[in-house]
Symmetry: D2
Subunit: 215 residues, 4 copies
């Protein structure tokens, strides 16, 4: 059976929830075409999260891996274009690790591009009334760490044909404690994830439209 | 019977919908305690909107009047503190009027403060997980025009005990066409409006907490 | 002799300098046409600042009073349109006062409009390559307090023909401690102040261009 | 003689000037320690700019190459950490080219990290009162194109020991036409460039402080 591995993170910092997990959790067991979704929570901990991810990849041999994380302050769903080989933590992770300027993978390349059809995904989301854009940095914290680590694992997991990372905004409940911060309903995020997965399964070659930024 | 007059605006500019009306419309006929909500759409037209508003106030003799408008780009529900006696339109309204530096009311005072319990409202919304804050400018377009005009009408409408204005963000559907813009689900706005009205009915004196800004 | 009273504030909060005073200080004694500038530092203290201001107005009988304050985070010079009769301090002032929802002046009107030619000033600054815009809120802290108090004093100071308030951004030195914050060179602010004063002296009636905002 | 190659761009889009060139131009011929600065204007044109850059590198055999570009809207000096192998132009360049999702270098790696001491540079700038931060995306336009192309050229230019890219804000003159946009005086940018070069020459190993972002 075709499988899709979907990951969200455990809460980190001062937050009690993580919208990426809130949105991913409810999709566990659902089908996209004939592919079953497996939802997995990753710990917000450097290195440990990659072990948990790799174990799940080995166990499930998914065709698609989509990881999601929280981007508190961003207003829309941001489809990440590139992961970079650096850990530079502004705050400690959930077990107190705070790496500065270390590589995610020793001897790994500087970066990996997403293999999701990022432009087609953004277009599909907007057409369905969900705010979205391409992002050119996934940061240097646990989110980028998982994104890079995921792409770096792929040569050993040939079942995976497409993989990438997406950031979601705060939930309204979180934003209520951060005056002025943007938010998005979890139901909208969940609908967005289904659309992203459908678009990924149905798009062999990404579309030719600009998603770029001058700086 | 106690009545609450709730107003939202018609779409303006390039928008096809107006979230203030989307959120207000569904509450028509609903009860807050023993007060019935009357939902009214105002035209996004200087002066005309105030005639429509006054007609409804005369017809319904409401106890509370809450007007809402769209604040595209703002991330949370903003409870306006003050209306000012100026029209200064950056873009024409729906019938082509573009007043610059004219008064809303000839010989009217410079401003009116909201008579809603604005601090209690913000606190209640946040406690229910809805992002909200006090705002110190309702702009100089049709929203401020209605807010000022509403307060200026009150001496002739003694049924009205509390009145004020609240801005709501774009809907996700609107924000999908404005990359990077924040949004809020209409259902969240509607829930917020019910909470604002309950808080208004239940709060005789506003609470003593800061909602201020240094500039 | 014609006189112009120019005020800036003492540093407040965690700041060691205040750009409004940095920019104002160097103009003391300079001439605009045949009017001499008197530069005055106001304490960042509710009520006390107004006593200092009134003493100087009584002593100098200026024709123009222009007060300036720091708006940390704003990117351009913002010419304030309106002062409101409220104190709502998010942080204590320099002597520990933190009024919440008190009036600046008991029984004073809700607001006062600037009597500066605010549109002509913004136009002149932009034409000289200095970023500027009209602002519709001076906040609810000491800046708005001085702006409101200044306008409220005018009936007792008939020498004053024009008065208003302008906010300036952080200096680069301040912004270096606030990552991501905008700033402006003090020399640019000082040049801007001279331009504002010249424009004020030379403009009998403000120009008819929009400086408004939709919200 | 030791040489430093410093590049800025020609104006692009609707701008008549480019702050990167304004700031770089005046340093031509100046010395940093015993190294002479050579200032070079690059055309804002894909591919052509890299030919001009390579010609200059071949001619001068510099020890350090620092390229700068305009980041309209950013508030501080942003020291770029990473270049990526993608061109994705939102607007055409100065000769009408608008590549979408093409590589800067066929078969090139996904990215290159700056070899400047980016953390030490940010620290030095802040200590001298100049707003600065590390940036994790140089965009996908001509700036990233030059940054990537520069790093990709290095194996053929062994004289170059350190190279990287820095973005500068609008000048006040530019920002005056973009209401609300941040700016920085050209003299501050020029002082910043000298500091960056001194720090580069004096820092063998970058300092160990976080410059990271959670997303």
């Amino acid at each position: 059976m075709r499988k899709i591995l979907l990951t969200g993170f455990a809460p980190f910092g001062a937050e009690k929830t993580n919208p990426s997990w809130d949105a991913v959790q409810v999709l566990d067991g659902q089908m996209i075409d004939d592919a079953r979704i497996i939802s997995l929570q990753l710990p917000s901990e450097f290195d440990v999260c990659l072990q948990v991810l790799e174990d799940a990849m080995r166990a499930h041999q998914p065709e698609v891996v989509l990881s999601l994380g929280q981007a508190g302050g961003r207003a829309d769903i941001t489809v990440e274009r590139v992961a970079i080989n650096i850990n530079d933590a502004r705050i400690p992770d959930n077990i107190g690790q705070q790496p500065i300027d270390t590589p995610v993978a020793e001897h790994g390349p500087v970066g990996y591009f997403s293999s999701l059809p990022i432009k087609a995904i953004v277009q599909a989301l907007r057409q369905h009334g969900i705010p979205a854009s391409v992002s050119h940095t996934a940061g240097t914290y646990v989110c980028n760490h998982v994104f890079y680590g995921l792409m770096h694992l792929l040569p050993n997991h040939p079942s995976v044909k497409r993989a990438g990372f997406v950031h979601v905004p705060y939930t309204p409940d979180q934003a209520a404690a951060h005056p002025g911060a943007a938010s998005m309903a979890v139901t909208t995020m969940t609908a967005a994830i289904r659309l992203m997965l459908e678009t990924t399964l149905h798009t062999a070659h990404d579309i030719h439209v600009s998603g770029g930024i001058t700086h």
